[in-house]
Amino acid sequence: MTRSIKVWVLLCGVLLVAGCSGSGGTWGWYVIDPSTDQGMNNIRFLIGGFWATILLSLIAAAMSMVLGLVVALPGMSSNRWVRLPSRVYIEFIRAIPLLPMLFWVFYGLPVVMRSLGMPITIDAFWGASITLAISDSAFTAEIYRAGIQSIPKGQTEASRTVGLSYTQTMRYGVLPQAIRRILPPLANQFIYIVKMSAFASVIGMQELTRRANELVVTEYRPLEIYTLLILEYLVLVLIISFFVRWLERKMGADESR
C-alpha cells in the first residue's frame, strides 16, 4: 500500500510541475495554487465538501447496515413465505440504478407521502442518504446472509439447546462470529457508498463533487479541478482502507487470543 501511495504522490508531483511551468500549455494549476489568495480560496471551497461527503456516507452506511440485517434475517428462514419478501426486496432494489432512484426519492417520495396524508419535505442531504441506504441495503443483506450462513449450523443448534431464543442465538452466538467474516466485504460496500455519494451533487447537495462542478463553471478549468476532486476521493478511500485493516487486525487478534 505504501508503494502505491508513493506512485501517486510522484504522479501528482509530475502533473503539478508540468501544469505550473507550462504557461501556454493545457494545464493551469493557478486555479488551485495555494500560494495565491484566489487559489487558496478555491481549495478551501473544494475541501469544504469533505464533511458533507463523509457525513452522508456514514449515515447512509449506518442505515444500510441496519436495513440490510432486517432484510437478511427473514431471508434465511426455513419458511418460504417469510423468505419471499426479503428475496423480492433484494432482487427489486438491486435492479434499480442509483440515479433514477435518487430522482424518485427526492422528487417523487414527497408527493407520494403527501397523497397519503403525511406531508414531508426531503432535503438534498436526506434524499441522498435514504437513497444510498436503500440502494446499498440489498447488497449489505446479501453480505450478511453469506456471513451468517458460513457459521456452522451446530452453533445455532447449540445455542438453542442451552435455551437461547432466536434473537439471543443471533446476538450472542452467531453474529459475533459472523461479523469477522462480514467486515471485509462490508468495508468494500462502504467505499462504494463514498464513491456513489457523488451522485448527491445532481440534487444540489454541497458535497465534494457538487463544489467541484460549481467551481468549474466559474473558473473554466475542469482538468485541474477534477484532478483534485479525484485525489480527494482517493485520500478518503485510502483512509477508510487503512482504518478497516487496523480493525481487522484488532479483531483477528481478539479471536486468536
Binding site: G154, E157, S159, T161, V162, G163, L164, Y172, E255
Partner: protein, 246 residues
C-alpha cells in the same frame, strides 16, 4: 401415562424428501433410565434423538417430554428447557471463553446473575475435572476437554434428560475414556440419558436398555446383557460382528 415416564415417542415418521429416515418409531423412557441407541450409519438414530428436543421436525406421530408435547404451541421451547444435548462436534462457541460458554445459557435464558452463573459453572467444570481451563478459548483445549466442557455447558441448564449424539466419535482414541468416565458418573447420579454411540463397553456398563436401529426402524431392544448374548435378528448380529471384530 405412567407417572415416571419422561419421554414418550409414538408412531414417529420422518422423511427427508423421498428418503424415509424414521418409520413408525415407538420408544418410552422412564425417569432415570439410561438408553444406548446403536445402529449402522444412516439408520436414523441421530435423527431420532434430534427429534426429541425439536432440532429436527417430524412428519407424523408424537413426542412428549415430561408431559409436554412437542406439537403444542411453545412446546419446543419448554421441552428444550428440560433437555440437554451433547453433539459429536462439541459445538462450543469459539469466540467465548470456556467459562462464558457455560454461563451464556444460564444468564441469558434463565436470568442468573453473573456471580451466580460463574459459581455454578465452576462447580460443573470441577465435576468434569477441568476447572483450570475456565479462562481459555475452546480451540486451546484438546478434543476430550472440549467435549467435557460441552457436557458441563449442558449440565449448567439443570436438565432432567441428557441427549448424547455420538459424543466420542470425533475424538482421538486416547481421549475417549475421559469423556466416557464423565458420562458414567452422570449415569450413576441417576440422570436420564439417551446416548447414540458405538461404544459397546459403555453400553454394557451403564445402559438399562439397548436399542438397535436399522433403516429407520427400531429392530431390537432390551437389556444389554440379553441382547449382546443372544441378538434375535440377523441385522443386529451382523452389526455386532462388524463393530466387535476389533
Amino acid at each position: 401415562m405412567c407417572a415416571d415416564r419422561v419421554i414418550e415417542i409414538t408412531a414417529l415418521d420422518k422423511s427427508f424428501g423421498d428418503f424415509q429416515v424414521l418409520t413408525n418409531v415407538n420408544l418410552d423412557v422412564s425417569l432415570g433410565e439410561r438408553i444406548v441407541i446403536c445402529g449402522p450409519s444412516g439408520s436414523g438414530k441421530s435423527t431420532l434423538i434430534r427429534c426429541v428436543n425439536g432440532l429436527e421436525q417430524f412428519d407424523s406421530g408424537s413426542i412428549s417430554v415430561d408431559g409436554i408435547s412437542l406439537s403444542d404451541p411453545g412446546g419446543v421451547d419448554r421441552v428444550r428447557a428440560e433437555v440437554g444435548m451433547v453433539f459429536q462436534q462439541f459445538n462450543l462457541f469459539p469466540h467465548l471463553t470456556v467459562l462464558e460458554n457455560l454461563t451464556l445459557g444460564p444468564m441469558k435464558a434463565r436470568g442468573l446473575s453473573r456471580a451466580d452463573a460463574d459459581a455454578q459453572a465452576m462447580q460443573f467444570l470441577e465435576r468434569v475435572r477441568i476447572p483450570e481451563q475456565a479462562g481459555k478459548r475452546p480451540r486451546e483445549l484438546s478434543g476430550g476437554q472440549q467435549q467435557r466442557v460441552a457436557i458441563a455447558r449442558s449440565l449448567c441448564m439443570k436438565p432432567k434428560i441428557m441427549l448424547f449424539d455420538e459424543p466420542t466419535s470425533a475424538l482421538d482414541p486416547e481421549m475417549i475414556s475421559e469423556v466416557l468416565d464423565v458420562m458414567v458418573e452422570l449415569a450413576e447420579e441417576g440422570m436420564t440419558m439417551l446416548v447414540v454411540t458405538h461404544e459397546m463397553g459403555f453400553a454394557r456398563k451403564v445402559a438399562d436398555r439397548m436399542v438397535f436401529m436399522d433403516g429407520g426402524e427400531i429392530v431390537e431392544s432390551g437389556p444389554p446383557a440379553a441382547v449382546f448374548e443372544a441378538p434375535k435378528s440377523k441385522r443386529f448380529r451382523d452389526f455386532l460382528d462388524k463393530i466387535l471384530q476389533h
